[in-house]
Symmetry: C2
Subunit: 230 residues, 2 copies
């Protein structure tokens, strides 16, 4: 590419990264607000989370449009093209993370008697980890930081363990308090949504790791790839 | 594009569509097998669903690779480029539909006493609708059939209603039979997974509708778009 084209391309990639960072910020706020609304029984805050979700959809559409334009006008090759495709994929994942937060917010009014359901205290702890995973993996993406990506992947295990504890404790609680089953079932879904946010952050982390090192992160994947190469 | 390039491009788009059709077929089988395994308590079949999932991941990676090559070599413009981007996005969605089927299969061993949980009979009915949505929307995608896309979008309401019924019935069942709460909670997740499959099929349907007509399907979206156009 000619020098001015390279400059334009770099500007546009920078803009794509900026839009994704903006999406990440909105997703983090959505997770935090949804959990606050859930814990404090704040319908207004829950509604705000639902109302804000289209912003993420619009930013994703903006990433799509810009990515398509970059591809069409600059015809990037190899690594540069992969960069643009990664932006397309990551924006889709962050948009879905926002959907999970919205799903949590939608449940706020379905949870009654939350103060009577003890395991609810595990939910903010899970949300904190999920939020930190989203935050750190988007920083790692911006900085192409493979080490941070590995850290995010490892943190997912902690989130999974908390989710399993939440599941067990909620089931015990339901058995002892049949009257709260419906509310407790909603909390199961909330836990599941947070666990899925962690999975999505891990997917991004694997992309970031691959982009930064050219290798697959997990042992299993690496073996599979080795076999495929033979 | 020169004539031979157009021919090559058409061949490659055809190949992308073929790969996505293949993914759709695998996803449908995964849904059907996961539900059969769940209902008939067939751990072996459940394991088969889990073991087959990497095939979908590999096909998605193949779509990615081919799409990137098409963009890099043919530098498609406007509609053609949008076609390739749509293939990238739809392959990602079908891969996730496979994940939901895998999640259902993974729960098979966690559900005890399924014959004692009456609402379980709603699950195959939900699966039938979810499977038909995946099937029909991929046909609609191949044929750019906006009418079929609308039909799939409308079918999602039926699936949502069934899910709400399942939820209510399972909660009642849990209250009356505390000993089955853990199994019934797993069925809640199964129902939720099927409902999410419907959501994903609806997302594809909206893309197909937009690609075929140049307009957004839902009333709300159309209004939003109208405002943005002013």
């Amino acid at each position: 590419m000619a020098e001015h084209t390279v400059k334009a391309f770099d500007d546009e990639i920078g803009r794509l990264r900026g839009l994704i960072a903006e999406m990440g910020g909105l997703a983090e706020v959505a997770i935090a607000d949804a959990i606050t609304a859930l814990i404090e029984d704040d319908s207004e805050l829950a509604q705000k989370v639902v109302d804000n979700d289209p912003k993420l959809d619009k930013l994703e559409a903006e990433v799509d449009r810009l990515a398509v334009r970059v591809i069409a006008l600059r015809a990037p090759m190899a690594n540069d093209l992969r960069d643009v495709i990664a932006a397309l994929k990551i924006s889709g994942i962050v948009e879905r993370i926002g959907d999970y937060a919205k799903n949590i917010a939608k449940r706020v009014n379905e949870v009654e008697s939350r103060t009577k359901i003890k395991p609810v205290t595990l939910v903010p702890a899970m949300a904190e980890i999920a939020k930190s995973m989203v935050h750190d993996i988007l920083n790692a993406y911006a900085a192409r930081d493979a080490g941070m990506a590995v850290e995010v992947i490892e943190r997912d295990e902690k989130l999974d363990n908390l989710y399993n504890t939440l599941f067990r404790n909620l089931v015990s609680h339901m058995m002892e308090n049949p009257a709260t089953i419906s509310s407790a079932a909603q909390l199961l879904f909330v836990g599941r949504n947070l666990e899925r946010i962690g999975d999505h952050a891990t997917n991004v982390a694997e992309m970031v790791y691959f982009a930064a090192t050219g290798e697959y992160h997990s042992e299993g994947d690496r073996k599979e790839k080795g076999e495929a190469d033979n």
